[in-house]
């Protein structure tokens, strides 16, 4: 089944107050099955915009995006999205949140229940199934959001700085759990982060984007076997390569 995602010469222009603003410029990219790709880039370079276009939340201005041989023009449960902010439905318990996408698929209650259980177990929240989001810590909320997205069995997981609002310790723990889940489910993942350490810890390939308008500056493959140790020399080497590349772009921004 060739459900690879192909982004072909995609660009995006916003217009606000009559002024045009090029957010993304001629980005091409391919994501293969079970591949974990991270995107890093200076703030405002169009990372979120790119993800939103792939999700079908935002139309492209040029180019096209494909899933297998189907062009992506609107949102669909095939493409899962995990946002940075806490986006659980506050009036639904953990269990009901995870069932949300399944309800839309009109699955019968027992089946919804079964599938939800599986993913709630996977993210380790069995005991909190009947808790409301406001009763959870930040990390638990993001785990619920991930379970909710996984439950509809999407082809790809788009993650926009999903751990950005968490503290360092929680963040490390969630990174490990995400890798665990990814290895079990073999999903494609496209993961945006500000944190180079995070990218190095997670990705098969790291895409560095240029300052606005966002173009792909460099793609760095990381062959270090997992589990990676954050303090290892080899990890640090890759980290420094990416940091340097990124630093150049941030410099550009402040030169402006």
């Amino acid at each position: 089944m060739s459900h690879d995602i192909r982004v072909e010469h995609v660009s995006k222009e916003y217009e606000s107050n009559g002024k045009k603003l090029k957010a993304v410029d001629d980005v091409s990219l391919e994501i293969k099955d079970a591949e974990f790709i991270c995107i890093v880039g200076p703030s405002g370079c169009g990372k979120s915009t790119l993800l939103r276009m792939i999700a079908g939340l935002e139309p492209v201005s040029g180019g096209s995006i494909w899933m297998g041989d189907k062009k992506i023009t609107s949102t669909s449960p095939e493409i899962g999205f995990v946002f940075q902010e806490y986006t659980l439905f506050p009036w639904r318990t953990v269990g009901k949140n995870v069932e949300f996408g399944l309800e839309l698929k009109k699955l019968p209650p027992e089946e919804r229940n079964k599938i939800a259980s599986r993913y709630i177990d996977m993210v380790g929240l069995e005991k909190f199934r009947d808790s409301y989001p406001h009763q959870l810590s930040g990390g638990m909320r993001q785990r619920t959001a991930i379970a909710r997205t996984l439950a509809v069995n999407p082809e790809i997981l788009l993650m926009d700085e999903p751990f950005g609002a968490l503290d360092a310790q929680t963040r490390n723990i969630l990174q490990e759990q995400l890798l665990d889940i990814w290895q079990k489910e073999r999903k494609k993942v496209l993961f945006v982060t500000h944190n180079v350490d995070e990218a190095v810890f997670l990705a098969d390939r790291v895409i560095v984007m240029t300052a606005r308008p966002g173009r792909i500056k460099e793609i760095i493959s990381i062959d270090i076997p997992r589990p990676r140790v954050r303090t290892e020399t080899e990890v640090n080497k890759v980290r420094n390569v990416i940091l340097k590349s990124l630093f150049e772009e941030v410099q550009k921004l402040s030169d402006h």
């Binding site: 949102t75 439905f89 009036w91 949300f100 509809v152």
Partner: protein
């Protein structure tokens, strides 16, 4: 000990006022009975009206009228508010009409209400409706418009259509604000029913006050006011308790109870 002094403080205000009231009327006769009867007289009247049942009959009528008017207001205002909050063009058409009608105090409608709906239940219901309608409508519009855009996007990423987004995201997300509008609307409706009952209606607490006032029974007037105050308090309290239960998923509201 700290607890006891807390209770003491809580009742001290009310006791002090009753004491001053009794002293200035029953004891020192600073006011004429007709201007301010002593609290003992007011309580005795209240007791006798409770015992002969007339207080409950009047309170029951007021309650019935307010509930009916409130119900009509909610049934009209909520769907209208959802439509106006969700579809900007509907909002454009109705906004100016609402802006002009809204600031007219419900009391100013009494004359027309009587002409249009006659005496009795219907005009009282209309007045309560006018009073309760706008808070519910405006809060519904507000609630629907301010639903977290990200939650709506989340629903779309799961492939939800507009109808499901409305039903499963917008309405639940807006519900606490709509509920607040209903609570405010109920309060204003309660105010309006009193006004309506002062004109051309038999029974009801407003009527009781008016007749008391026509017959120069200031004690009855004060019993009426007190009953209205206590019932208003009770209604608000019920709304709050129910709201805390219904919206227990909401951190903000459930915190307020404590």
């Amino acid at each position: 000990m700290a607890r006891l002094s807390r209770y003491f403080l809580q009742v001290s205000g009310i006791l002090l006022i009753i004491l001053l009231w009794e002293l200035s009327t029953g004891v020192f006769h600073l006011f004429k009975w007709i201007v301010l009867p002593p609290p003992t007289d007011v309580f005795m009247t209240m007791l006798s009206m409770a015992l002969d049942g007339s207080l409950f009959v009047n309170a029951g009528w007021s309650l019935l009228r307010v509930l009916l008017g409130f119900l009509v207001a909610a049934v009209v205002a909520i769907p209208m508010g959802v439509a106006m909050g969700w579809l900007p063009s509907i909002s454009l058409v109705f906004d100016p009409v609402i802006e002009v009608i809204r600031p007219i105090p419900p009391i100013a409608w009494i004359g027309l209400a009587l002409l249009w709906f006659g005496i009795g239940l219907n005009s009282a219901i209309f007045l309560v409706f006018i009073g309760a309608f706008f808070p519910i409508l405006l809060n519904t519009i507000d609630g629907v418009r301010n639903v977290d855009k990200r939650l709506i996007e989340v629903a779309y990423t799961f492939g939800a259509g507009d109808w499901n987004v409305l039903r499963k995201v917008v309405l639940p997300a807006a519900s606490p604000i709509i509920y607040t509008g209903m609570r405010v609307g109920m309060g204003i409706g309660w105010m309006c029913v009193v006004a309506a009952e002062m004109i051309a209606v038999k029974f009801g607490l407003g009527n009781m006050i008016l007749e008391g006032s026509n017959l120069l029974q200031t004690d009855v007037v004060m019993v009426g006011m007190l009953t209205i105050g206590l019932m208003g308090l009770a209604i608000n309290y019920i709304f709050q308790i129910a709201g805390n239960y219904i919206f227990k998923w909401q951190q903000g509201i459930s915190r307020k109870v404590a």
